[in-house]
Symmetry: C2
Subunit: 343 residues, 2 copies
């Protein structure tokens, strides 16, 4: 009787058990497990049957010990935690990466490096080779983690173009500048001429690019870029509110606001409502991200969709390619204007 008493599972079958069961050697089983090259059809079938019968699952520790690879990938978040909680994009990205990796049967290790202490611990953990690569999310410029990992030769893919690192680092990003231009173009097409902007943090590539797109499109349309129409935010809802109040105070004739994130845009909507401005009649508001909350904002938010599903799958693809020995690569993905009620 193979009673499984509490906690003590019966010893799982090894490659040896499978080999005996199939009447072949360990080597042949191993070859079947790793692609089935140089294996006769008969042996192939016998091994597969034996695997099914025994319920064999490869022991990843043993495999990793000899291959030197861990068959797992880290998802490293170097943001302060509040941002993670507030911003729905992280969740979307996280889910997308988990799914893309699941297709390769690779588990994702979530790593939160909020404090310097955690950062050090994780850097040590990663450079010790316990993950094959790292998906790096939202590193501000000056973030030392990326630099350290890069120097240690750890395959790395950033989400968004990292500032201040050489061109040797892979990244996947939406075309922020182009998206910003599309939104401003849309606002212009509605007849708006006093278009303000609440920017993202300007030490992030997204923040910089979206601002640049806004400025380019205005200039291209022959309109001046008025500093009083630009307020800087940090992607938080609160900073959107503050930004809108600042803009209203400095430029009461404001007739549109391009906000660098949907979350901030919700703050902008609240501030405009408080100030008695109707959206979209008095002021058009355009967001960025097409976050899940965008359609249910009031009014429903016109925004720029970032292709998060593709961003995450591309990040995983590039990372795995790099783990496999390929060179770093940069991928830029197009965005899409989503017109709803707010503009």
């Amino acid at each position: 009787m193979t009673m499984s008493k509490a906690g003590g599972r019966p010893r799982p079958p090894t490659i040896h058990d499978v080999a005996r069961e199939a009447g072949v050697s360990r080597g042949t089983v191993s070859r079947v497990l790793n692609g089935g090259h140089y294996v006769s059809p008969a042996a192939q079938e016998a091994v597969n049957a034996a695997i099914r019968r025994t319920g064999y699952v490869v022991n990843r520790h043993a495999r990793s010990l000899i291959t030197g690879r861990s068959d797992s990938v880290g998802f490293l978040l170097t943001e302060p935690q509040e941002r993670f909680f507030e911003d729905p994009n992280f969740n979307v990205l996280l889910r997308g990466c988990t799914q893309a990796l699941a297709a390769h049967d690779i588990p994702l290790l979530l790593m939160l490096a909020g404090t310097d202490d955690e950062r050090r611990r994780l850097t040590r953990y990663i450079t010790a080779g316990h993950v094959d690569g790292v998906l790096l999310v939202s590193s501000h410029s000056g973030d030392p983690v990326a630099q350290e990992l890069l120097e240690a030769g750890v395959p790395l893919v950033a989400c968004g173009k990292p500032i201040g690192l050489g061109s040797k680092v892979s990244y996947v990003a939406a075309d922020d500048r182009d998206g910003a231009r599309a939104m401003v173009r849309h606002l212009l097409s509605l007849g708006r001429r006093r278009i303000g902007m609440v920017t993202g943090p300007l030490d992030t590539p997204g923040g910089v690019e979206r601002l640049a797109g806004y400025q380019e499109e205005l200039t291209g349309a022959g309109l001046p870029v008025d500093d009083r129409l630009i307020a800087s935010g940090d992607y938080s809802r609160a900073s959107g509110e503050a930004g809108a109040e600042l803009l209203l105070a400095r430029a009461p004739d404001l007739d549109a606001v391009f906000v660098a994130s949907d979350l901030m845009a919700q703050g902008v909507l609240a501030a405009l409502r408080r100030a008695g401005r109707r959206v979209p009649q008095d002021v058009s508001v355009g967001g960025f991200d097409d976050s899940p909350a965008a359609p249910s904002a009031s009014p429903a938010l016109t925004t720029i969709r970032q292709p998060w599903d593709r961003i995450s799958s591309e990040m995983v693809r590039v990372l795995l390619a790099q783990v496999g020995g390929e060179d770093p690569a940069a991928v830029i993905l197009p965005t899409e204007l989503v017109v709803r009620d707010s503009a």
Copy 2:
């Protein structure tokens, strides 16, 4: 020549290198690494110095191969994804668990089992012993994952009391019933007598318990439990809105609503505003969770704080104890009434 070519980091030091460097044997180094029992102070010091000099980090794969433990823990989410994105509590919990585990130098593997397919894959992965234990989040009754893992003997700690499983499963939960009673007591103390409730999903323990607390407290105060005052929701914002509309239609004399989650409470606030009811003047609203959004709701939400930091740390503590061979345990933690503007 041991050139380190691109991507091929120089071979990391092994326990053997440390032993040679310290002038002791592998065994002694290993003993130092595992608690330092039966090691002379001199050897202890020599080994520590050698570890520092060589930059040695233990190879977890090799260790796991022999100990049979993986020194990692799974954080398993069996919710449909929308819930994960919407509910800030998951984020708080996730962060808390990550930090609590980090103190033990144990990485957390995030596992999302949204579809049946993913569920199967992950169950296989987990039962194959690739994590030492599982932190299970928000399993509805009838969730097969918990049952399967339990049968496989995988150490398991649920967040919230699982319905329909025996008492052999560990869980950590806030005292939902007591919290609900505290909120209703507060509403009664404000002079409210027609107190409605929007419940959580009644196939979850939290949903059931909060409803029970509401009913108990009303009964205890000598008030009737009126079915027209009870609407059922699913923790989503939209269901809060729908619930409030239903209550207003069925019981226009409503003077307070106890809502089983902050997110639903935001929907309730929106519905009340649309219906022209002022909060808290006409209707008092009490939430549950003390989510990050609660203070910034308008009006700021009176709610019940769940001790998420303690919940996560207790979950980790109980899980690790169980991995270490202890018996399952249930932990109930007290909640706290947070009075803001809405009631």
